[in-house]
């Protein structure tokens, strides 16, 4: 019986494919074994996006970059600074009530050398409020500007920094969400909590209790 000869022209191409596959798989395996990329986003276990802007500390406006304050080599158990970041709007009712009722006792508990919550000596917590604008500046009854941010901070006796993001320059990286939205960022820049993903009733303050280590 005569058999069809169908593979005469496959030799060179098959050899080439084999060689290139070996090269590709070798390179890819090396990359896979030596890197461990973390997705940048706003979900839990994502790397927090870049957050840059001018901050008001009660005395002056200065430049601030979250990543200047992050230690990417940090591992659990080491000392470092956790950031509780609140995206808020000075005209938002929920933000105003949180600023008035929730945040003052929490800053007493977590901030500064006299924080009432026990923590290891090399662990600290910072709050950062990021003031965005949910409405247009022209909307009746809604006022924006640095004066509003300074006044809001002073009215509620807050002791932490307020970032001016009313031009929404960080929105492209962080996305579009309502206010107030809370994030807890570990010292290595990884998001450990965001209320958008959290089960009902589990607040950022609960997450801080659970995640931030206690002192002796």
């Amino acid at each position: 019986m005569q058999r069809r000869n169908i593979s005469n022209e496959a030799g060179g191409r098959a050899d080439g494919l084999l060689m290139v596959s070996v090269l590709f798989i070798t390179a890819f395996t090396y990359i896979a074994l030596t890197t461990s990329p973390v997705y940048t986003g706003i979900g839990v276990d994502d790397r927090a996006p870049v957050l840059d802007g001018q901050v008001w500390d009660g005395n002056s406006w200065s430049d601030f970059s979250l990543y200047d304050n992050v230690d990417s080599m940090w591992v659990e158990g080491e000392g470092g600074t956790y950031y509780m970041i609140e995206f808020m709007d000075t005209n938002c009712g929920h933000c105003q009530s949180a600023a008035r009722d929730e945040i003052p006792p929490m800053q007493t508990k977590w901030l500064g050398a006299d924080a009432t919550r026990s923590m290891p000596t090399n662990v600290s917590v910072e709050f950062l409020a990021v003031s965005i604008s949910l409405w247009d500046e022209d909307t009746a009854g809604k006022e924006y500007g640095r004066d509003q941010i300074e006044e809001f901070r002073a009215t509620h006796n807050h002791e932490f920094m307020y970032m001016d993001d009313q031009d929404e320059s960080n929105k492209a990286n962080w996305g579009d969400f309502g206010t107030p939205t809370y994030f807890l960022v570990a010292p290595n820049g990884i998001i450990k909590y965001v209320n958008l993903d959290a089960p009902g009733g589990y607040t950022v303050w609960d997450a801080m209790e659970d995640i931030i280590p206690r002192g002796e």
Partner: protein, 220 residues
């Protein structure tokens, strides 16, 4: 720097200056005696350099995602690959979302397959198809290079690794055009689709096909 070694070697081999180099290495690789062989050999070296630099770029991209920020490659004035590869607005292919390093690895792997196949069987009927695919993908890639140069302009920094891959790609595209022009000329050196090469014909005839049975009387 490591990536430039095969690229420069390949470029020299492809150029008229590569004839002497090719003849010196012809005892190990006889095909380097011909212009076609040197062009293909040079292209392989250039593509290998392009592949390794693309892999390096992907490694930097992943490392930047792993570490969050920082310098993963040397920066000197306008040359700052961290600012380019670490820029989340520009460091992936639009619509597809693949890191540019991965795109480069895939492209150079495909180019390598096309050219290794041609090198192994230069007289086969599909050679012209491979050269056309290489040429057209080369032109498409040059379009992407312009996009990436625009990205570097927008960022205000140049990425040395990306530029190395771009140079490698341009040389590769030039090589495919050169091989295409050689294909129908005497420079190709072996039969084209008409299979004039007797050795190739002979090899083919031995590979298979019908073999008439021999009867007992014939054997005697």
């Amino acid at each position: 720097m490591f990536h430039w070694i095969p690229i420069v070697f390949g470029l020299v081999l492809m150029s008229p200056f590569g004839e002497g180099l090719g003849l010196k290495m012809a005892s190990r690789w006889p095909s380097l005696e011909t212009t076609r062989g040197r062009t293909i050999g040079g292209m392989m070296a250039v593509m290998f350099g392009g592949f390794t630099v693309s892999a390096h770029t992907l490694w930097i991209h992943n490392k930047a995602n792993e570490m969050g920020s920082g310098n993963f490659c040397s920066a000197d004035g306008v040359w700052d690959c961290s600012s380019v590869i670490g820029n989340s607005d520009w460091n992936t292919m639009p619509f597809v979302g693949l890191p540019w390093g991965m795109v480069g690895m895939l492209a150079f792997a495909l180019f390598l397959w096309l050219i290794i196949s041609v090198a192994k069987e230069p007289a086969e009927s599909w050679v012209l198809t491979h050269l056309k695919i290489g040429r057209n993908l080369g032109i498409l890639g040059i379009g992407m290079i312009f996009y990436l140069i625009y990205a570097e302009y927008e960022i205000g920094k140049l990425c040395q690794y990306c530029t190395t891959a771009h140079v490698s790609h341009v040389i590769t595209t030039f090589g495919f055009f050169r091989l295409s022009s050689m294909y129908e000329s005497n420079e190709w050196g072996v039969g084209t689709s008409s299979m004039s090469d007797s050795a190739a014909k002979d090899r083919k005839s031995k590979r298979g096909g019908y073999v008439a049975p021999i009867t007992a009387s014939e054997e005697e």
